[in-house]
C-alpha cells in the first residue's frame, strides 16, 4: 500500500516523459488527478492507522550483503508529514495550471520529486532514507536550474546542490558510522533504535556528522546561506515544495534518526542543539525584518520557524531537571510546527509567485495600495501572514505554544531568548503587509491582476487546513502525541 503511494507519481512521471504528444492541458489535469488521488490515499492510510507504533510495514531484503533493506512503514511522526507532502504537491499542481513553460517535463519532474519526498518519510532504513534524501536534492536542482527565473538561477541552483550535497554526504558518513558500530551490522532504523549502537566519543562524532547533514538541510544558522538565493530564483511551486517539504526532511531526521538512535550522545549534546535553535530563531527573524524582497523575507522566516523546531527537539534532550510530559509536549510541538510551517509557508510562496507574475518583481517598495486593487489577493496574503506570525486560531499558534510550554521546564533561558523572535516575526509581517497593501499605489496593476480561480483553489485549502488544525488541534495531536511520547522515552533511556 505504502509502496503504491510512493511510486505511483514516479510511474506517471515516466509516462509523461515518454508520451511526447500529450497536449499541455491533459498534462496539467493528469498531474492534478494523480496528486489528488495521492491525498485521498494518504487520508485513507490515516483513517486506518491504529493509533500507535508502526503500521503498513514492509521489510524486504534489498542489499543483503550490505545490511540494507527495503523497510517502509508509517507512525505518528511520519503520517502527518506524508499527508502534508501530498497536500502541498496537490496545491502546486493546481497552482501550475496553464502556467509553466515546458509543462510536460515540469509535471514529470514534480511527480518524481513527490516520490522522493513520500519515500523519505516512510523509510525505516537508513540507506533508503539516504537514497530519497539525495534524489530530492537532484530533483530540486533541476527545478531551480531549469525553471528558475532571474539571472542568477543557475548559480543559485549550483550553490544549493553543492551545499546540500555536502550535507547529504555528512549524513552518509554518520550512517556508515552507525552501521559499523551496530552488532550485527545493519542500516535498519528500527533495529538501531531498539539497540542504540554507539556511546562516548564515537557516538558524539557520528551525531556530529548526522547533525551537520540535517542542519544543512533544515537549514539552521550558520548553514542557511544556500536558502535565500535558492528561494529567490526558484519558481513559485518549487519554492513551495522546497520550503514546505524539503526543509522538513532535516527536522524529520532529528526526530526519526538522531534522537532515537543516538540517545546517549543526544542527551549529552542537546544544549548545542538548543543554542543553534535559539540563534536560528533570532537570526532568521532579524534578517527577515531587514529584507526588501517579499520572497526573501518569507525565506528567512523559514529559518526562524525551523529554529523553533530545533529548539524544541534540543530541549527534549535536556533530561535532567525536567519532566517527561513537558518534553513530550515539546516534541509534539515540533512535529506540529513542521506541518504548520509546511502549509503556511507553501501558501505564502505561492502568493509570492502571484505577486511576481503580476508585478514582475518581489520588491515590496514597488507595490503599495494593493488592498484596494486586488482585494482577494490581499485577503489571502493577510490571512497567510497572520497564520505565519502565530495568531491564535491557526496551526502556528498551537505549534509554537507547545514548543515554548514544553521547552520552558528544561531550557528556560533559551525560551526567554527565543520569545522575542515571535515579536519580531509579527512586526515584520505587519510591516510587509503595510508596505505592499496599504498606502498610495506605486504600481500599475488593475483589478484584473487579482488571483485567479486556480490560484485561489491552490492556496485556500492550505490556509483552511491551517485553520482547521488551529481550531481542532486534536485531529492532528491524537496521532502525533503517542509517537512524541515514544521518542521522548527513547531519548531518556
Amino acid at each position: 500500500m505504502l509502496s503504491l503511494i510512493v511510486f505511483t507519481p514516479l510511474a506517471v512521471a515516466v509516462l509523461l516523459l515518454c508520451w511526447r504528444g500529450l497536449p499541455a492541458r491533459a498534462v496539467s489535469w493528469l498531474w492534478i488527478a494523480v496528486t489528488v488521488v495521492e491525498v485521498v490515499a494518504v487520508l485513507g492510510v490515516w483513517w486506518a492507522y491504529p493509533g500507535e507504533g508502526f503500521a503498513y510495514e514492509v521489510d524486504r531484503p534489498w542489499i543483503p550483503g550490505a545490511g540494507a533493506g527495503y523497510h517502509v512503514g508509517v507512525d505518528g511522526l511520519s503520517l502527518p508529514l506524508l499527508a502534508l507532502t501530498t497536500v502541498v504537491f496537490a496545491a502546486c499542481a493546481v497552482y501550475s495550471l496553464r502556467r509553466q513553460p515546458r509543462p510536460r517535463q515540469f509535471a514529470a519532474l514534480f511527480l518524481a520529486l513527490q516520490t522522493t519526498c513520500l519515500g523519505l518519510f516512510v523509510s525505516l532504513d537508513l540507506i533508503l532514507f539516504f537514497v530519497f534524501f539525495d534524489l530530492s536534492i537532484v530533483g530540486m536542482y533541476a527545478v531551480i536550474a531549469g525553471w528558475g527565473h532571474g539571472p542568477q538561477a543557475r548559480r543559485s541552483a549550483l550553490t544549493f546542490f553543492l551545499y546540500t550535497f555536502l550535507g547529504s554526504l555528512a549524513l552518509l558518513l554518520g550512517f556508515i558510522g552507525l552501521y559499523v558500530a551496530a552488532a550485527p551490522h545493519t542500516f535498519d532504523m528500527v533495529a538501531l533504535t531498539r539497540d542504540p549502537p554507539t556511546r562516548g566519543v564515537a557516538g558524539a562524532l557520528v551525531l556530529l556528522a548526522i547533525l551537520l547533514g540535517l542542519a544543512i538541510k533544515t537549514p539552521t544558522f550558520p548553514f542557511h546561506t544556500w536558502l535565500p538565493p535558492a528561494h529567490t530564483d526558484a519558481p513559485a511551486a518549487g519554492s513551495a515544495v522546497l520550503a514546505g517539504i524539503l526543509l522538513k526532511m532535516g527536522t524529520y531526521g532529528f526526530v526519526r534518526i538522531a534522537m532515537p538512535v543516538l540517545p546517549d550522545a543526544w542527551r549529552r549534546h542537546a544544549w548545542v542543539v538548543v543554542v543553534v535553535g535559539v540563534v536560528s530563531v533570532l537570526y532568521g527573524a532579524l534578517v527577515a525584518l531587514a529584507q526588501r524582497s517579499f520572497k526573501r523575507m518569507v525565506a528567512y522566516t523559514s529559518v526562524n520557524h525551523m529554529g523553533y523546531v530545533v529548539l524544541a527537539v534540543g530541549a527534549a534532550g535536556l533530561v535532567a531537571g525536567s519532566d517527561a510530559q513537558a518534553r513530550a509536549v515539546a516534541v509534539t510541538g515540533a512535529v506540529t510546527q513542521m506541518v504548520s510551517h509546511g502549509l503556511i509557508t507553501s501558501a505564502l510562496f505561492l502568493l509570492a509567485g502571484v505577486l511576481y507574475d503580476r508585478g514582475g518583481t518581489y520588491r515590496m517598495d514597488a507595490y503599495g495600495g494593493l488592498a484596494g486593487d486586488t482585494p482577494r489577493f490581499a485577503a489571502l496574503t493577510a490571512v497567510a501572514a497572520f497564520a505565519s506570525l502565530g495568531l491564535p486560531g491557526f496551526s502556528g499558534f498551537i505549534a509554537e505554544f507547545q514548543i515554548f510550554a514544553g521547552s520552558l521546564g528544561s531550557a528556560p533561558v533559551a525560551v526567554a531568548f527565543a520569545l522575542p523572535g515571535i515579536l519580531v516575526t509579527a512586526a515584520l509581517f505587519l510591516w510587509a503587509l503595510h508596505r505592499v497593501f496599504l498606502g498610495p499605489a506605486r504600481h500599475r496593476l488593475s483589478a484584473t491582476a487579482d488571483v485567479t480561480a486556480a490560484e485561489t483553489a491552490a492556496v485556500l485549502p492550505l490556509l483552511a487546513l491551517s485553520l482547521l488544525i488551529g481550531v481542532f488541534p486534536r485531529l492532528l495531536l491524537d496521532v502525533v502525541e503517542p509517537a512524541a511520547r515514544a521518542v521522548t522515552e527513547l531519548v531518556a533511556r
Binding site: 531484503p61 534489498w62 542489499i63 543483503p64 550483503g65 550490505a66 540507506i127 539516504f130 537514497v131 539525495d134 534524489l135 537532484v138 536550474a145 531549469g146 543557475r154 549550483l158 546542490f161 553543492l162 550535497f165 555536502l166 554526504l169 555528512a170 552518509l172 558518513l173 556508515i176 558510522g177 552501521y179 559499523v180 551490522h185
Partner: protein
Amino acid sequence: MTERPLALLPELLLLAGAVSTLLTGAFLPRERQWVARLVAAGALLAAVLATLPAVGERTTVYAHSYALDAGTTAARLLIPLAGLLVVGIAAGRVAGNRRETEFYVLTLLAVLGAVLLAGASDLLLLAVAYLLSSVPLAGLAGWGRDRRGAEAALKVYLVGALAGVGLLAGAALLTALGGGASDYDRLAAGLAGAPSTAVAVGVVGVLAGLLFKIGAVPGHFWVPDAVQGASIPAGALLTTVPKLGGLLAAYRLFAVAVPADVVDWPLLVAVLAAVTMTLGNFAAFGQADPRRLLAYSTVAQVGYLLMAVAVAGRAERALPALLVYLAGYAVTNLGAFAVLAAEPHDTLDDYRGLARRRPWLAATLVICLLGLVGTPPTAVFAGKLTVFTAAWDGGLAWLVVVAAVNTVASLFYYLRWLVPALSLPSGPRPLRPASPRGPRVVAVATAVAALLGAAGALPLAGLVEQTLQR
C-alpha cells in the same frame, strides 16, 4: 591434479579470438572488415559464456600460479564485457579504417592481459601478465597514427616500461626474500620472517607497476595525455580495462601474499588512495576538454577504489565492495565515453543544447556523470556505499571522510559539463551533427545498466565469496 588446460578456457578463447580476428582481417578487403569485428565480439562473448560454468570454482591451477576464485571470475566476466562495450563504442569510429582489425586485435589482447593480471597468483605470472597488457595499450594509444596519438603511445610505453622495471625488480626482490618461492601461497609464509625494510622495498616496486596500470598517483601522468591523444574508443579502454585487472591484482597481492604485520601496506595504500582521489578531483577542476576531464575523473575514481584495496583482508566485505564498485565504475565510465564518442567535441561548451539535439544522449550523460559522483540509485553509489562501509569497518574512518569531501568536490566539475549540456538555447532547433549509431546504443544501454545497477548488482554481491584462494 591441477594441470587442467580447460580451466583456462576463457583465457584461451580470448587468445584464439585475437589470432583469428587478425587472420580474418588480413584476408578481407577493407569494406568487409566488419566480419573481423564480429569475430572479435564473438570471442569476447564466448569468453564470458565459458566463465559461467566455472562461477563457483575455488581452486588454484598450475602449481598455485593461477587462482580460480571470486576475483578471477569477476575479472573474466567484467573485463570481456567491458571489451565488448569498447568494441561497440569503436563501431562507429573506427569502421572502414584501414587498420580497423588491428584495433580489435589489440583490444582482445589488452582484455586477455587484464584478465591474467587479475588471476595471477604468482609474481612471475604477474610480471608476464603486466607485459602482455602493457604492449597492446601502447599500440591502442597510438592506433590513430597521428601526432597526438604518437605522443600518447610514447607516454604509455615509456612510463609503462619504467614502472615495469620497478615491478620486475620488486618481484625479484620479494621472491628472493620469500625463499625462492614466487607463488603467493608460499611467498606469504616466506615473507613472514623476512626483514621488513627489504620487503617494503619489494612491495613498493611491485606496487609501482600496478599503480601505473590503474593510473593512480604517482603513476597517473600518462592518463590525461593518453586519453586526449588516443582515439575515444581507445581512451575508453585505457581507462577501464587495465584498471579492472590492475586493481584486482593489487587486491590479490595484498590480501594473499604480503602479511600486514611485516610491512604496514594498509597505511601506504590508504595514503595513496587519499592522494590519488584528491589530485584527480582537483586537477579535473580546470579542464575545458571533456576528454581530459574524464581522464582525471578516472584517476579520482581509482582513489576511491584503492580504499577497498587498503582494507584487503581486514574488512569483512572488502572484496565484494571492490567488485561492486569495479562493475559500477566500468559501466558508468564506458557510458560517459560512449556519449563522448557519439558526439565528440573539444570543449565542454560545445555540448550546449545537447538536451535539445539528442535528449537520450543528454539523459545518458546525466545518469553517467551523476553516477560517477555517486548519486543514488546508480551503480557507483552502490559501489561507494559498500567501499566506504568496508573502509570504515577496516579502521580507516579518516579515509572515508576524505573520500566524502572529495565526492562533494567532484560534483563541481561534473556539473561543469552537465550544465551546458542541459541548457536550452533559444532559437530554432539546431542541426544535429552526424553521429554514429554504435556509441549511441552503447551509451543508452550503459546508462540503463548504471541506473539499475544498484538494484541489480548488489544482491549478487551478497553471493560473492569474501576471501581469495591461496
